[in-house]
Symmetry: C2
Subunit: 526 residues, 2 copies
C-alpha cells in the first residue's frame, strides 16, 4: 500500500499542534505517516519558562514530551540541515549514525518559529544568555546560583559588585517576565547567604523605548508593571539599546558600561537560518503563506507559526507571533493537508485574539482581555495562572504544576545547581577598548587568536618604566609561550579597538601540542 508522508519541521506550538490535529483527523487511517522533526523531544510552554529560574515550578513542568502529545507521530530529535522543495526532501543531522538522514515527503509543514540569534552582535553572542529552551533556563539558573556563591566568598569588593549586578536587555514580554522572576529569585536566594548584603543586589532592565511593554500592552498596564518592578528593586534604563557585552560588562548604545557578570538579552529573535535560505517569497524574514497556510507557489508546502507571515483574519497586516495564533493556525493547517490528500475543499484561517498577559513574578500579573478588560495585580495573576494552567497539555502536567504552585506557598526557593554544564574547550570573547584581556602574572590556561579588532601587548614593569609594547591585530595569537613553557602570564594585553578573540583551553589543546610538528608550529606562532 502506497502511503503518504507529512513531515513537520519544528516542535513549537505550531508544529506540535499540527501533528496532534493530524493524528485526530487521521485516526484509524494507515495511509498517512506523520513525521515531526525538532531539536528537543519536548514542547516548551514558553509563558512559564521564566518560572524555572525561581524554581516556583518543577524544572520539567514547563515542557511536555512530544511523543506523549502526539503518540503516533514519528519524532526525529535532530537538527534540520536542508529543505529541498523541488525534490521534496528534508535532510536531518546525523543521530547515532555517521551520516545525515534524508526523508522524502508528500507534504511539508515549515514551523520553525524564530531563533534567538545574536550572531550579528559578537559581544551578545559570546556573553549574553539566551532564554528560549529549557536548557537556557537551567543554565541561567545555575549561573545565578554560582555568582551568588562567589559573591558570598570573594574578598574583592569590585568583583562582588559585578557579581551582584544583573542586566536584562529588552522590555517586551520575554524581557519583563525574565527580569521579574530573576529579580525575585536573586533577592530571595540572596537572603540565604549569610555573607551577602541583599542591598548590594542590582537588577537593571535596559529598553530602547521610554516605557516597558509599549507595543504589547496598553499604557496603563505597562506603567503598572513598571512601578511594581521598580518597587521590587528593578532599575530601568530607557531610550537606550543594549549594544554589546564583554566578559565583565554590559555596553549600552551611548557607550555607558555597566560592570556585570550576568547579561541576558531577550531582544533579537531572527528568522531561522534554514528559512532564510529557502527560495520562497518572504516578508521581513517570515515565509509568505496564504490564508490556507500554503506557501505561495507550492501545493504541498505549508507554513505557520512565528516563522510564517499569514494574513491576519482581522484584515490588519499579518498574524502576531503568539501561541494563540499558532495553535489555531495548526487546526486549519491540519484540516487543509488532509483535504489536499483527499481532494476535499480547504478552509481559510479565521481567529480573533482573546487577550494578552504577562506575569510579573511573586503573585502579580497584568492582563488585557478581549481588547477592553484591563487587569493588573493579584487578580490578574490568578487569572494568568488559571488560564495557563488550563492550557497546559496533559492531565499529569496539570497535577504536577498545580502541586508545585501550592508547595511554593510553604517552601523556600531552591538554590541547588544542576551543574550539568561543561566549560567549552573553545569559545569566543568580545572586549571593548580599555578592557584588560590578559593580566600579567595570572594563571596561563588559555590560548587566544584575534578574529578582529586591536589589542596592545606590553611587557613593561609595574611602574610603567621601560615598557615595551606590541600591537596585535586579526590573525595574531597570544598566550602561546606561557602554555608551552608552563609559566604564568608574562605580559599585559589590553584592548584598544573593539576586539573579538577565540580562546582555547590549555587542557584541551595539550594532546595536539604533544605532537612534535604542531608544537614546533606553535613555538613559531608566538
Amino acid at each position: 500500500m502506497s502511503s503518504q508522508r507529512v513531515v513537520i519541521l519544528g516542535g513549537g506550538f505550531a508544529g506540535v499542534y499540527t501533528a496532534m490535529k493530524l493524528e485526530r483527523l487521521l485516526r484509524k487511517r494507515q495511509d498517512v505517516e506523520v513525521v515531526l522533526v525538532n531539536r528537543e523531544n519536548y514542547l516548551v510552554f514558553q509563558p512559564m519558562l521564566a518560572e524555572v529560574i525561581s524554581g516556583n515550578i518543577g524544572l520539567l513542568d514547563t515542557v511536555s514530551p512530544i511523543c506523549r502529545l502526539a503518540p503516533s507521530t514519528r519524532l526525529y530529535e535532530r537538527e534540520v540541515e536542508d529543505v529541498d522543495l523541488a525534490n521534496q526532501t528534508v535532510t536531518l543531522s546525523p543521530g547515532f549514525e555517521a551520516n545525515a538522514t534524508v526523508l522524502h515527503y508528500d507534504h511539508v509543514v515549515v514551523a520553525f518559529g524564530n531563533v534567538t540569534d545574536f550572531r550579528k552582535i559578537p559581544g551578545l553572542h559570546d556573553h549574553a544568555f539566551p532564554f528560549k529552551y529549557l536548557g537556557d533556563a537551567l543554565r541561567l539558573r545555575d549561573h545565578l546560583i554560582r555568582v551568588l556563591g562567589e559573591a558570598a566568598t570573594t574578598t574583592d569588593p569590585e568583583l562582588r559588585k559585578e557579581l551582584l549586578t544583573f542586566v536584562i536587555g529588552g522590555g517586551g514580554f520575554s524581557g519583563v517576565e525574565v527580569c521579574a522572576e530573576l529579580n525575585d529569585f536573586v533577592r530571595r536566594a540572596g537572603k540565604k547567604y549569610f555573607h551577602i548584603n541583599p542591598n548590594d543586589i542590582r537588577t537593571v532592565l535596559v529598553h530602547s523605548e521610554d516605557r516597558i511593554l509599549e507595543r504589547e500592552m496598553p499604557e496603563r498596564l505597562g506603567r503598572y508593571a513598571q512601578e511594581l518592578l521598580r518597587k521590587r528593586g528593578v532599575e530601568f534604563i530607557f531610550n537606550l539599546r543594549l549594544e554589546t557585552g564583554t566578559p565583565k560588562c554590559a555596553v549600552l548604545h551611548d557607550g555607558q558600561r555597566i560592570p556585570t557578570r550576568t547579561l541576558i538579552s531577550s531582544v533579537p529573535s531572527s528568522p531561522n537560518p534554514i528559512v532564510a535560505g529557502l527560495d520562497v517569497p518572504q516578508e521581513r524574514g517570515r515565509i509568505k503563506a496564504d490564508s490556507k497556510l500554503q506557501i505561495e507557489g507550492f501545493e504541498n508546502a505549508w507554513s505557520l507559526g512565528d516563522c510564517a507571515a499569514v494574513p491576519n483574519p482581522s484584515g490588519e497586516g499579518v498574524c502576531p507571533p503568539t501561541a494563540q495564533f499558532a495553535i489555531r493556525q495548526a487546526t486549519t493547517c491540519a484540516h487543509n493537508i488532509v483535504a489536499a490528500i483527499d481532494g476535499q475543499k480547504q478552509k481559510n484561517f479565521r481567529f480573533k485574539e482573546l487577550g494578552k498577559m504577562a506575569s510579573l513574578g511573586h503573585r502579580r500579573a497584568i492582563a488585557q482581555l478581549f481588547g477592553w478588560i484591563h487587569l493588573g495585580g493579584f487578580l490578574a495573576w490568578l487569572f494568568w495562572r488559571a488560564a495557563y494552567w488550563a492550557k497546559l497539555p496533559g492531565i499529569d502536567r496539570k497535577i504536577k504544576v498545580g502541586v508545585s504552585w501550592m508547595l511554593d506557598l510553604v517552601c523556600g526557593p531552591e538554590i541547588v545547581q544542576t551543574k550539568v554544564d561543561v566549560k567549552p574547550a573553545m569559545s569566543e570573547s568580545h572586549f571593548e577598548p580599555g578592557e584588560i584581556v590578559l593580566h600579567k602574572a595570572d594563571r596561563a590556561d588559555r590560548l587566544f587568536i584575534i578574529l578582529n579588532g586591536k589589542a596592545e601587548l606590553s611587557y613593561g614593569d609595574e611602574n610603567g618604566e621601560a615598557a615595551k609594547s606590541v600591537e596585535l591585530t586579526a590573525g595574531d595569537v597570544f598566550g602561546v609561550a606561557e602554555i608551552l613553557e608552563k609559566t604564568s602570564v608574562q605580559a599585559n594585553v589590553r584592548c584598544i579597538e573593539p576586539l573579538t578573540v577565540v580562546t582555547y583551553n590549555k587542557s584541551e589543546l595539550e594532546p595536539l601540542l604533544a605532537l612534535p610538528a604542531v608544537r614546533t608550529c606553535f613555538e613559531q606562532l608566538r
Copy 2:
C-alpha cells in the same frame, strides 16, 4: 580579635555534618570561622540519586543546598588543588578571579570521600557513565531518553538493538539500585514510544561474583533481590568483570562483547587524587585516622568519612564507607575540634551500625536491621522510604519528596530531556581489535590523534581489490585531509590492537586551522 579558622574539605555527609555540628557547638561564638570547600553547592543524598533516573522524585529533591544546612559556614564552590599540612594552607581553584585562592587554616578536616575514577581503564573512562553527582544522574537520564528516541526512528535493526541494550557493571548497592531504576524507567518509558517494541529492551548487569550484593547483604536477601530483578527483565552475567568499553560495546573480562550504546560502571571508586598525594600514613588509599579522628602525627588535621580509615568501634577492622558512619564520625570530629581549640578533653568515636537497605525500584526493597531482622518486598520498601524520608535534611525537602512520591502513584514517567549537555570539543575514545574507527564515505567532522594502540588505514575499493593499507601507531594523526579539503571520509580505519585516540571536532578546530601557519602544519601531518 584573632580568630581561628576551621577548613573542611569535601561536602559529602562527613564534611557537611561536621560543619553543621560545629555551627551548633560554636553558636554565638565569633572567634571561630568555619569554611567548607566542595565542587558542588549541595549535599547529594546518594541513596535516592537513582530515583532521579525514573523521575519518581523531582530532579532537585535528592540534593540539599549546603548554605541552607550550614548557614553561617563560608562555602567555597571550588576544586581543592593542594593541601599543605606543613604550612597549614589549602589552595583552591580560581573562581571568577584569574588566580587560585590560598586559605590558611588552624584546623583542617579532610573529608573528600572517594571518587569514581576510571582513569586507569581507558575504555571505561571514555565510554562508561559515572553515577555519583546530580549532574551524572541527569546526563544519564538525558542519554536514556535520547537512545529511546533514536531507537524509535532508526531503520537500522543492528543499531536499534545496540540502542535498546543497557549494560551495568557492578552488583554492589550502587550498581543494583541504578540497574533497578534504569530497568523500570526504560521499560515504562519505552511503552510511550509507538515505534518501540518493549520486548527488544535488554538490561544486563555484569558482576564479578556469583550473586549480587554478596558482601553487603545476607545471602537470602541478595537472592530475593536477584530473582525480583530477573522477573522484571534484568539479565545477569556472573563471575565476569566489566573489562572495558568502546563507543559501540561493553567488553567483558573473557573477551565477550555486548553491543550497546549505554554502559554504566559503578565499580572502581578510587581515593581522591589529593588524598593520594598527601604525605600522611595511609591504608589502602584511605588516610589513617585514630579513634579521635585525628590524622596520625598531626594535632590540627582531622579526617573522616569514606576517605579515612578509622578504627571500627566494634573492634573489627575499619569503619565501612557509609553515610551512617560518616554522620556519627562528624559529631565526634566537631566535638574534638572545639575541644582542641578550647583545650578540653577529646572523645573517642563510638557507634554500632543500625542496618543496611537497598531499593529495588517500583515498590520493592530489601533491608537488614540490627543485624538480625531481614526484610524483603513491599514492607522493606515502605521502611526504606520512611527511613530515608526521616533522614532527608530540612522540612522543605521532606514535603517536596513526600508529595513527589504521592504524585508518582498517579502520573506516568517523565520523558523530557533537560539537554543541558554540550558535546565536548575534545574527547578520548577507546576501540578494541576489529572495530571500525572511521568508515569510508562517512561525514568528515573529526580529527583523530592516536595515543596508544594500533590501527590500519585502508584505501581499498569496496570489492577489496587493490587495497592499499597503512599501519598507524601512537602519535599518528588521521582525518586531517578530509577536514582541510571538506570531503567525506576517504579511507577505512580499523583497530588492530586496543586503541586509544583523542578526537577533535572540526567546528572547534576551524579558527585554529584558519591560521596559515597552523594550516600548513596540518597539511603536512596527514
